[in-house]
């Protein structure tokens, strides 16, 4: 059951929902290109908006992206 303290969290997520979103598999397929685009200084979310949108919504995929980006910068 929805509690008072959940409302803001839920409504923010719902407000950001789009008719067209890619899933985790499609995001993962493009994650290496997306990370390299970001490292090169370009705005990856402009070049690949659906991947950027997915990463904003999916904490699991976002954690992979962050780790990959750190690795690329540090290796």
């Amino acid at each position: 059951m929805l509690k008072r303290g959940d409302v803001i969290k839920l409504v923010r997520v719902v407000a950001e929902t789009h008719e067209t979103e890619i899933g985790c598999d499609e995001c993962f397929e493009q994650l290496d290109s997306f990370a390299e685009t970001g490292i090169s200084g370009a705005e990856a979310s402009v070049a690949m908006p659906l991947v950027g949108d997915h990463l904003d919504k999916c904490a699991d995929c976002h954690s992979k992206f962050e780790a990959l980006q750190r690795a690329l910068r540090g290796t």
Partner: protein, 204 residues
């Protein structure tokens, strides 16, 4: 490590003497895992070798799926991060069942009304809350409701919720996407704009 083009990586790994390329790739994966996941709670250091080894098996077994849209080493490190994070999350959440999560949630007091709210504000919050509850109860399927609670409200990793619900991460994301779209449409149909709802609750 010797610099290689994507084509050289693929040729060496597929060739008759892949040992040097495998050793270089393994070293790169270890370094990447340590840098990429160094601050992950639960730690990656003790397991970096295992994760790199497992990733290496996946990488060499799936060379044909590399599409050449990034550097080969980036693609390989992506696979290593996936292996490591999937396992680290599995370990971190292994003792939590969805039933426990839902039971704890029912027992928890999640933000009673702010005592500083006026009676008008409180009434408005209650009206919105009741309508949102109705939409969730009447419009979502049981599985959608479970996923919304576990992933969105309780912030359990989607991969872990998927495992417990007998599905996979991609399918669960799509199920959640359908649930979010339904909630959005029904909120609009009920005259609840997100901006107004957030204003009503932020006032508290």
């Amino acid at each position: 490590m010797r610099e290689r083009t994507n084509e050289q990586w693929l040729a060496e790994l597929r060739g008759p003497n892949p040992d040097e390329a495998l050793a270089d790739l393994y070293d790169l994966l270890i370094r990447g895992l340590r840098v990429g996941l160094g601050n992950y709670r639960g730690g990656v250091d003790a397991n970096a070798e295992d994760f790199a080894q497992e990733a290496l098996i996946k990488i060499t077994g799936n060379l044909d799926s590399f599409r050449g849209e990034s550097r080969f080493t980036t693609w390989a490190q992506k696979i290593a991060m996936n292996v490591a994070l999937t396992e680290l999350k599995r370990r971190r959440w292994r003792d939590v069942s969805l039933q426990d999560l839902f039971a704890r949630r029912e027992g928890a007091d999640r933000g009673p009304a702010d005592p500083h709210l006026t009676s008008e504000q409180l009434a408005l919050q209650n009206t919105v809350l009741e309508e949102l509850r109705r939409i969730i109860d009447e419009e979502l399927t049981d599985r959608q409701r479970e996923a919304v609670v576990a992933v969105i409200l309780e912030e359990m990793p989607i991969s872990e919720v998927a495992r417990r619900m007998g599905t996979n991460q991609n399918a669960l994301y799509k199920l959640l996407h359908d649930a979010r779209k339904k909630l959005k449409r029904q909120m609009e149909a009920s005259g609840l704009s997100a901006k107004e709802v957030l204003a009503v609750f932020d006032e508290g």
